[in-house]
Symmetry: C2
Subunit: 288 residues, 2 copies
């Protein structure tokens, strides 16, 4: 029996430490990559700041249009008008399907042709939704080698364009995945980015009612976008930068391996040696 | 070209409607079950009300101890002191490991022996983490027929007891899963309940810093539990009741089938006919 333990002391032994050891695992071996300011987006909500990395490799046309809309300040003042807890927060002007919009439609960018020059760190071959999963440029990716194709998977934090029934009907409105990965949407949407910091802010976006399909009719009850800004448009000396895990680094491979094997004594039942590609912590750091 | 469409009109055609049709699918055939007041918990946070259903079938000892602690008002005024975005919100007094606690330890209740009297609606046999998945009493369940065992899976909204390295070391502190299902924890924790309403409230619980393993040292910066109350302890005329999907009903089976097949024209790439047991919307309704 030791002396009385205060809260701080027991925190040090927190029952949960073992569960997230992998989060800090290999921290020294893990390389970090700075996101290019051309692909870095700051979305300021009243709830706080959300930092997004765009992915022009997988969705070049979508990224180009989104960048242009951001630069035209299209989104500033608009709201998240369709928010379903555990599914998506969808924002924009709600007029994606309005014929009067003069914003051009975007072609489907659901998957890309794979080639061996594309970096890829393998995660899993037993995934239910894709023959192979892994990571490319810090993004969770699905691949079908038989069809020589690859796509960005619908993990929490993914940013994609909403659309109508037609495959080529994306235009302006976008959604962020806020719940268990809706992987059935993979290869059906223009996924063009992911939140690298600020998911806790996204999680505070006001929800609509599930009975009303998440739609918030009363704009005063919705979360508003103060502004969306491309980092490249901010003077360099004022600009924040974002560091994300280098998913091609040895340290990242070790982290995946550690999460697959779960060697800690904490695990009385050893889990199957598999990885959910959407359950690997992929946080980034935003710094001055 | 039709007449000008206002926001309300285009909302009616929202690009996303097709994606969640299954949520409202079979609403008429789906039966609802009222949660027994002995298994119904109201957790009031400053952020709002969270409604939880306890599951004594899978974790009888844990439920008994949690009920007793709730009735002793053990949790009232305590905080969520370890909160990692995308993973868990852990609350209690943080003294789970303190030797001075006079609260008894709880035995491991990681899985139960299966028998054919237990209701089960099958979801999937290709799941990465369990030979079979499905639903029992409204809860997502994993099963291993070869070992004749069953367990509650770690889906978002699941409530479980934290513990130390020892399997039998749970005591008072609990966590709620707030991100992509950490299924590697299945069969390793005393899962004893799930949030049936109020996950959007849980998502507003203040996060700790990931570099500090989510621990919030400054109590004034943490989300506090105002009170936790067992519905059975509230006079019947003042008590709210909770309705949850009857996962044994024909309507629920149809809903699963609809989500597996994705017949809507919206899907240009038909997803594999598989179901993530944690990605089936399982919301409840709390009513007077």
């Amino acid at each position: 029996m030791s002396a009385a333990k205060g809260r701080a002391a027991t925190w040090g032994l927190s029952a949960f430490l073992a569960l997230t050891a992998a989060n800090s695992f290999a921290a020294n071996d893990l390389l970090w990559r700075e996101v290019s300011p051309d692909n870095l987006i700051f979305m300021d909500l009243h709830e706080g700041r959300v930092t997004i990395e765009l992915n022009p490799r997988f969705a070049p046309e979508t990224v180009e249009q989104f960048r242009r809309l951001v630069q035209e300040r299209f989104y500033d003042g608009l709201s998240f008008y369709r928010v379903i807890d555990g599914f998506v927060a969808q924002g924009g002007d709600g007029s994606d399907l309005g014929e009067l919009s003069n914003v051009p439609l975007i072609d489907a960018e659901f998957e890309i042709e794979w080639n061996e020059d594309i970096p890829f760190t393998s995660a899993e071959q037993k995934d239910m939704f894709a023959p192979r999963t892994g990571f490319t440029d810090g993004f969770a990716v699905g691949r079908d080698p038989a069809k020589n194709s690859g796509w960005l998977t619908h993990c929490p934090g993914v940013v994609a364009m909403a659309r109508n029934e037609d495959a080529d009907s994306s235009r302006t409105d976008f959604y962020i995945v806020i719940g268990q990965a809706p992987r059935y949407l993979d290869r059906n949407m223009n996924v063009f980015g992911r939140v690298v910091e600020g998911m806790e802010v996204v999680q505070r976006i006001k929800r609509g009612k599930s009975g009303e399909n998440g739609i918030i009719q009363d704009e005063t009850a919705s979360s508003r976008i103060r502004s969306i800004t491309l980092a490249a448009d901010i003077p360099k000396q004022e600009r924040l930068s974002a560091l994300v895990m280098d998913t091609g680094s040895k340290g990242f491979e070790d982290l995946l391996d550690d999460r697959r094997k779960r060697k800690q004594k904490f695990f009385h039942h050893k889990p199957p040696k598999v990885l959910d590609v959407c359950q690997v912590p992929m946080g980034g750091r935003v710094t001055k």
